[in-house]
């Protein structure tokens, strides 16, 4: 028994949401693999969206005419006709066309601490049970746990063993709410019908209508509780602990960004993102400073074959992931921008392949969008360095000629493994990076 989700596809790196023009299949209809199921429109372009699995269209979660953010679940496909009813029952009511969200797709916010190359979203059955069963186990028919797709997804995300959850649905079927109760956690994953909730919005309980003023920051539990780490968070814990065995040091640099900012304004309309610009600048500079791309191993200093810049991204439901821009030094800036949009969209929907988030050779962590003026990052295992990038802000600067001017400046802070990277390596790298950003950011499109 399996339920497959149909996601709003990213038809362009500059697409944040798409309009469902038409469902070519009706709920309950048979769908062949590769057959077109619906049509999505973005700007003046239509694309047929095909089924990746054969089965039956069980539910349409967003009606034709409505708009959904990229990566949003818009429909469900089940493998057998018998599963249609269950999937349908579990699915939220389709969002009406009138309720089409207007806000841009919520993007996961990049995060400070060193990211954990996390394991892929675990299969529900394999999830450990960090929470003691609070009720008699689920009514299992012929040895199988009966749960709604949403409950399964949530259980996987929260690291809850479904077998330990008591289902409150028809015939003891486990509902999302039951999983939520079992962990004591509010459901932090927005329901499809409210898909525009920003990623960093308070994870207010969906059920509690009369909630007091929603907290502004993200939390995973309620006051007075202790909440078990979910699998993604456990991966972070492991990696953070491992970093304690690495002798790290930090080197900071202040970079003037007026020219970079001006250049960014020019290329923004072409779909270039600041993340891609920074990754490209770092990639190009790493090519000239291979020592910063190296890491310590038992055999000695390991020099990777490619320069793969990983960028830390916080997941809505806890944990961090580091999608990788492979060969960032050699890949064209526009292609990098498109790749990044695609990686972010697929990391939200947990569709990244392991090689897409575990192969970074250097990590970038950017908290600039929050206005942070400086921070330091923890080194991800298996790499030699991570760069923490803070906000670019106007400051009064004393220039070389003694005059005073307002310049936009940002602080970057490199964390490096001193077994491999020494102070002079770090300093030379930062100096070149600063020079590239300050004097010739235009060269990044070449």
């Amino acid at each position: 028994m399996a339920t497959h989700e149909i996601f709003m596809p990213a038809l362009s790196s500059t697409m944040t949401e798409g309009k469902i023009v038409e469902w070519l299949k009706k709920p309950g209809e048979r769908v062949e693999r590769g057959e077109s199921v619906l049509v999505v429109e973005s700007d003046k372009a239509d694309m047929d969206v095909e089924a990746f699995q054969e089965g039956f269209l069980a539910a349409v979660l967003m009606e034709a005419g409505s708009t959904a953010p990229v990566g949003e679940t818009i429909g469900l496909i089940v493998e057998t006709e018998a599963e249609i009813a269950a999937a349908k029952a579990a699915a939220p009511a389709p969002a009406a066309a009138a309720a089409a969200p207007a806000a841009a797709a919520a993007k996961p916010a990049p995060v400070a601490a060193a990211p954990a190359p996390a394991p892929q979203a675990p299969a529900p059955v394999a999830a450990p049970a960090p929470v003691a069963p609070v009720a008699p186990p689920a009514v299992a028919t012929d040895g199988r746990v009966v749960a709604t797709p949403r409950a399964r997804k949530l259980a996987a995300q929260l690291g809850v063993a479904l077998a330990s959850v008591r289902g409150s649905g028809p015939n003891g079927r486990i509902q999302a709410e039951d999983v939520e109760q079992a962990t004591g956690q509010p459901v932090s994953v927005p329901r499809v019908a409210e898909g525009t909730a920003p990623a960093m919005a308070a994870p207010a309980g969906n059920g509690s209508a009369a909630a007091p003023a929603a907290p502004a920051g993200q939390a995973f539990g309620r006051a007075g509780e202790t909440v078990a780490f979910n699998t993604l968070q456990q991966a972070v814990v492991r990696n953070m602990n491992a970093s304690l065995a690495v002798p790290c040091f930090h080197v900071g640099y202040t970079i003037t960004t007026d020219r970079l900012d001006a250049f960014y304004k020019q290329v923004k309309a072409k779909g270039v993102t600041m993340t891609a610009l920074l990754a490209k600048a770092v990639g190009v500079t790493l090519a000239r400073h291979p020592q910063l791309n190296a890491s310590a191993s038992d055999a000695g200093m390991a020099y990777p074959a490619a320069i793969n810049v990983a960028v830390a991204v916080a997941m809505d439901d806890g944990g961090l992931i580091t999608p990788v821009l492979a060969a960032a030094d050699r890949t064209d800036l526009y292609a990098l921008s498109r790749q990044w949009a695609d990686l972010v969209a697929r990391s939200r929907s947990k569709q990244l392949k392991p090689e897409e988030y575990t192969t970074g050779t250097f990590t970038l962590s950017n908290l600039g969008m929050f206005g942070v003026d400086r921070f330091d990052a923890i080194l991800p295992p298996g790499t030699g360095a991570i760069l923490a990038v803070a906000a670019s802000r106007p400051v009064v600067a004393a220039l070389k000629d003694g005059s005073i001017a307002v310049r936009r400046q940002m602080q970057v802070n490199l964390t490096a493994d001193h077994r491999v990277i020494y102070g002079t390596h770090a300093a030379a790298f930062l100096k070149d990076l600063a020079q590239l950003i300050e004097t010739s950011p235009e060269s990044l499109v070449l």
């Binding site: 362009s12 500059t14 038409e22 372009a45 694309m47 047929d48 498109r338």
Partner: protein, 229 residues
């Protein structure tokens, strides 16, 4: 460019009814879907007068009863609102594997705009884009309409550039759903210009922008109903 990829160009000598040209595109798209190594292709033609609606287009932009249209009305599988086709308007329908051309539908729309902008530049005209309004504009008038559809990244439909066609037929609709934005044609800026003169400019700009080398169809590559040449 030396490394241009060969692509087949189909040209129609006389104006083509919309359904026939649509069927040709679908034939070409099917060939691509069945044979991943099939070459890119493009159709260059003019249509007999008609109106077409994108798949999600609103009937509210029609100035007539859709049950009794003044000209044939077709709802087709492209994005965008209603538009009007007629002789004197050059239509270019690329059937491309967009994954070989960036794999990005918005970039593709911008690239089609680039093709028309390059044609205008050849004619000494400074066409413009208007952000959020896909198409090519000249002094506030829309010269080229763009709308595409894709299946597994194989494109169909494309762009329509008004050369010397009468514009009255656009009066019966709100073209592309944009009220208060008039439609224009090249001949109002460059009198005496004909589609036959613009066609080579359009093809050259298309080849250049997409890195293609257009060639006529081979004996096995013909389309039913499309004569030689």
């Amino acid at each position: 460019m030396a490394s241009n990829i060969p692509a087949i160009l189909f040209e129609a000598a006389a104006p083509v009814p919309f359904p026939l040209a649509w069927e040709w595109q679908r034939q070409l798209q099917r060939r691509r879907l069945e044979d991943l190594s099939a070459p890119d292709a493009a159709l260059l033609l003019q249509h007999t007068p008609c109106y077409t609606l994108g798949r999600g287009a609103s009937l509210g932009h029609l100035g007539f009863d859709p049950a009794r249209p003044p000209l044939p009305l077709h709802r087709i599988d492209r994005g965008g609102e209603v538009t009007h086709h007629l002789p004197g308007q050059l239509v270019l329908y690329p059937v491309l594997d967009l994954q070989r051309h960036g794999g990005d539908l918005h970039f593709y729309l911008r690239a089609l705009e680039d093709v028309v902008l390059a044609v205008l530049q050849e004619l000494g005209l400074a066409g413009e884009r208007i952000e959020g309004l896909t198409g090519v504009w000249l002094e506030g008038r829309k010269l080229a309409a763009i709308g595409v559809g894709a299946r597994r990244w194989i494109s169909q439909h494309g762009l329509a550039l008004n050369v010397d066609c009468p514009l009255e037929g656009f009066g019966a609709i709100v073209p592309c759903g944009l009220a208060g934005r008039p439609v224009g044609r090249l001949v109002d800026w460059r009198p005496c210009l004909t589609p036959e003169q613009v066609a080579p400019l359009l093809l050259a700009a298309f080849e250049c922008r997409f890195g293609l080398a257009l060639r006529p169809p081979g004996p096995q590559e013909g389309l039913a109903g499309l004569g030689e040449g």
